[in-house]
């Protein structure tokens, strides 16, 4: 049991270290995760669904550098 806990924390630390390498703090976000796991714009689409539910008009999302509308 003790070894299992140690293994768990070791894996957790490994994940944190790997996470820092793959996702530098300034880009770690739900948007980046969703883009990696699904497709670009996935997080924005989920937010747009939320806006549509609330009856808000579609807004223009801020473009990232180099991105075209």
């Amino acid at each position: 049991m003790r070894e299992r806990r140690l293994l768990f924390f070791a894996l957790l630390l490994l994940l944190l270290s790997l996470g820092r390498l793959l996702f530098p703090a300034e880009t770690a976000s739900l948007r980046a995760l969703a883009e990696l796991a699904l497709c670009p714009g996935a997080a924005e689409r989920v937010e747009a669904w939320g806006r549509a539910l609330g009856g808000e008009e579609e807004r223009v999302f801020a473009l990232r550098p180099g991105e075209e509308p």
């Binding site: 806990r5 768990f8 796991a37 699904l38 689409r45 989920v46 939320g50």
Partner: protein, 198 residues
């Protein structure tokens, strides 16, 4: 008198730590209430049916609320449906508040609810199907029908996910489909767990 237990698996703790690490604070603030609303929906239905919660378990694949007591297929279907329903109500309410954070939370809750309504175990939609299948004259046939629905749903998601992968997109949809397909084909994948009160 026995009390309810709360269990958190290593996998759940691991996932929670990863989310805390990877997501921004405001994104966590958007996600957690959506999850909470869903689980509170299940809990409210269990309590409304005067059943007792015996265990609340957080695992890598999600949360499970085990309850003890007698309830029929309609009750089990209601308990399973209550989570997505609460999530949809939460999404509707929060979306009215406007703003990026609330709309993101509403969208996440909507996505969680709709995904959970897919007719595949161990999702809530699969549990609804399993409960309603007990009402059929031949329960064995009902169970086979539920498994077929679940396998079909998993296959469809897997197919869509593989198409995304081939276009250079992420693997999450394909993995979800594979998980649902595996759950449908695995023997003994449970209906909603119930235990008699001692």
């Amino acid at each position: 008198m026995s009390r309810s237990r709360i269990r958190v698996s290593e996998g759940a703790a691991f996932l929670a730590a990863a989310l805390v690490f990877l997501l921004r604070r405001e994104e966590l603030a958007a996600l957690l209430p959506a999850l909470l609303a869903h689980e509170l929906g299940h809990l409210a239905a269990i309590l409304a049916l005067r059943l007792r919660v015996s265990e609340f378990r957080a695992e890598l694949g999600g949360f499970t609320i085990e309850y003890a007591g007698e309830t029929g297929p309609a009750g089990r279907a209601l308990i399973a449906a209550a989570g997505p329903l609460a999530g949809l109500l939460y999404a509707l309410a929060v979306s009215r508040l406007g703003g990026e954070l609330f709309c993101l939370s509403a969208g996440l809750s909507l996505l969680l609810s709709l995904f959970n309504l897919l007719p595949a175990l161990p999702l809530d939609g699969g549990r609804i199907c399993a409960a309603l299948a007990e009402l059929l004259p031949d329960p064995g046939r009902g169970e086979r029908l539920c498994r077929a629905l679940g396998a079909g749903t998993g296959l469809a998601l897997l197919f869509l996910g593989l198409r995304l992968l081939l276009r250079g997109r992420g693997a999450a949809l394909a993995l979800s489909g594979a998980w649902l397909l595996f759950s449908a084909l695995r023997p003994g994948e449970g209906l909603v767990k119930t235990r008699k009160l001692r």
